[in-house]
């Protein structure tokens, strides 16, 4: 048998090595992505890359304004629909619904979270797109993307909002009720304002999820590399652009580097959202 102090010491070193390896790997991933993407920024020029509207493999012209606009519209459309719905649903879960219904609904939400995004994409293609075709256009459209994204971010947003509602001390609500407020007045004037930082966090994480989602959007949004004129036009997002091009990229080409540059733009979006969510959480702790 080894001496237990010896074991203690060795184990500590092993755990330290684990941590060092993981952190190194994660750090290298970030470095690698930026290193690969940098040549595109350098050769094309940052402004031209961000604000140009051409992407051509043959002429080696790469710029991504339509993608940024596509992603932004899809994301904003999604949160505009999902935020009120998720707040109402969270209030329903924590304040209104009878216990049995709320636990059933929570299980439904858990299943929705776990369903793979390709399944959402498939149902979007076969059920939603033909419906939208009735409104005009091919059906593969920004609107289809927004509806699918809304369904996909809804469970996350409901869960975070509900948690923040539950975190409000019961005494707040009791005080409002004791002053003669109705249940709804207590929720609307006391509970929701007290939970606003959690609700904001849900909003921001919803945006982050919407902009990062790939396959489902790729399958329904139509993938036209153009700035959409209406919500029924096909569009393309940053993520779906990478998926669409990834099999054609050759090693060391400007094309691959430009794809990494698209990835960097995405990471910056996520970084901004996460930092805001992080700050909100720290302020409230």
């Amino acid at each position: 048998m080894f001496n237990r102090y010896f074991v203690d010491n060795v184990s500590k070193q092993i755990v330290l090595v684990c941590a060092a390896v993981s952190l190194l790997v994660l750090f290298l991933i970030v470095i690698f992505i930026f290193k690969e993407g940098f040549p595109a920024f350098a050769k094309i020029g940052l402004l031209k890359f961000l604000f140009g509207t051409e992407w051509s493999l043959k002429e080696e012209k790469f710029s991504i304004l339509p993608l940024i606009i596509g992603s932004t519209l899809a994301m904003l459309g999604t949160v505009v629909i999902a935020t009120p719905l998720s707040i109402a649903c969270a209030v329903f879960l924590s304040e209104v619904a009878p216990h049995r219904i709320s636990s059933l609904l929570r299980q439904a939400i858990e299943v929705l979270v776990g369903i793979p995004s390709v399944v959402y994409g498939l149902v979007g293609m076969t059920l939603l797109v033909p419906l939208i075709r009735q409104l005009g256009g091919s059906g593969y459209s920004l609107l289809a993307g927004i509806v699918v994204l809304t369904i996909m971010v809804l469970p996350t947003m409901v869960t975070i909002t509900e948690d923040s509602l539950r975190a409000v001390p019961v005494s707040y609500k009791e005080a409002a009720l004791a002053l003669g407020a109705t249940q709804w007045q207590a929720i609307w004037m006391v509970l929701l304002p007290a939970a606003r930082s959690g609700i904001t966090a849900a909003f921001i994480l919803g945006m982050a999820r919407a902009i990062g989602e790939t396959m489902a959007v790729y399958m329904v949004i139509g993938n036209a590399f153009a700035i959409p004129g209406s919500i029924l036009d096909p569009s393309r997002t940053l993520t779906s652009h990478i998926v669409g091009q990834i099999q054609e990229s050759a090693s060391g080409s400007l094309h691959l580097s430009a794809l990494f540059a698209v990835g960097i733009v995405l990471i910056i979006f996520i970084l901004v959202f996460n930092s805001i969510a992080f700050l909100i959480r720290r302020k409230t702790l």
């Binding site: 330290l16 719905l85 109402a88 879960l93 929705l112 990494f260």
Partner: protein, 282 residues
């Protein structure tokens, strides 16, 4: 117009009930639609046939391979890192920065990991899209989640348990293996199940790294396709009768949804079991 508080409450209640109903309906329509179209295709031969024959056996096998490989690569590393970060690392700005970095990486879209895996594992290191490249990429993708979720489980162990063990003269490692890890086990198992779920549902990352072969991968250096990836390829890239392909995709969805529901049940059962054990009704 002035609405009395009571009427306002009635309207508000109606709206919240409506929103709950919408969420139920979404799930009901989604599952109903998939089962309606897919159930007729599911049979023993659908599960046991090769892909050109219209079956999904190679995809099932490949999914299992990828899940196991990813776990082998990421779970010990993630758990070790979580133990270090929550129990050994000095508290301060550095560890706060590290946590922030890991949280950000956990939120990075999977397609970026796919791009990374494609450029590093496929092009530079292995030279081909294969099982190993897919599993390495997936391990990088789930590592942040694995670390964060296990760390959370470890942190939820009450400090008094740890102090009691240390006060009895146990070394830190004895405390970890005999007190902290058993108490954190349900959380750690949940973390692992979470990662399994992510691997099963992941498509974008594997589309870039796993190769799209229809065969069961014979070694680490052969390509393959997971169930989710197969579903995607059925509706977008496979040649053949479109109606039939969609039906097969629906049937594959049914299998995937059943797996998801089973995973949810498993998590629920496990947490129920551990909760009962912690209360002492063993």
């Amino acid at each position: 117009m002035n609405i009395s508080p009571k009427t306002a409450q009635k309207i508000a209640w109606l709206l919240t009930w409506l929103s709950g109903l919408i969420v139920f309906l979404i799930l009901a329509i989604l599952i109903g639609f998939i089962f309606y179209h897919g159930l007729s295709v599911i049979s023993w031969s659908f599960i046991s046939n090769s892909i050109p024959e219209g079956g999904i056996l190679p995809a099932i096998v490949c999914t299992i391979y990828i899940v196991l490989l990813t776990l082998v690569l990421s779970a010990p590393l993630g758990l070790g890192t979580a133990i270090y970060l929550s129990l050994y690392a000095p508290k301060g700005r550095f560890s706060e920065f590290v946590r922030y970095g890991i949280e950000t990486l956990a939120g990075v879209p999977s397609i970026i990991f796919g791009l990374f895996g494609m450029a590093l594992f496929v092009i530079v290191l292995l030279g081909t899209q294969c099982l190993l490249a897919g599993a390495l990429t997936m391990a990088c993708l789930v590592l942040p989640t694995m670390i964060l979720a296990s760390e959370e489980a470890i942190r939820s162990v009450p400090a008094s348990h740890i102090e009691a063990s240390l006060a009895l003269g146990a070394t830190k490692w004895q405390t970890i293996t005999k007190v902290i890890l058993p108490a954190a086990l349900p959380g750690i198992i949940t973390a692992v199940i979470l990662c399994v779920g992510r691997v099963i549902e992941e498509t974008a990352c594997l589309y870039a790294t796993l190769g799209l072969s229809m065969l069961t991968p014979g070694s680490l250096f052969h390509g393959g396709r997971t169930l989710a990836l197969h579903l995607y390829l059925l509706v977008t890239e496979m040649p053949g009768d479109r109606g039939l392909l969609i039906k097969q995709a629906m049937a594959t969805s049914v299998i995937l949804v059943i797996i998801v529901i089973l995973i949810n049940l498993l998590t629920r059962l496990l947490s129920g079991y551990f909760l009962a054990r912690m209360k002492g009704n063993n």
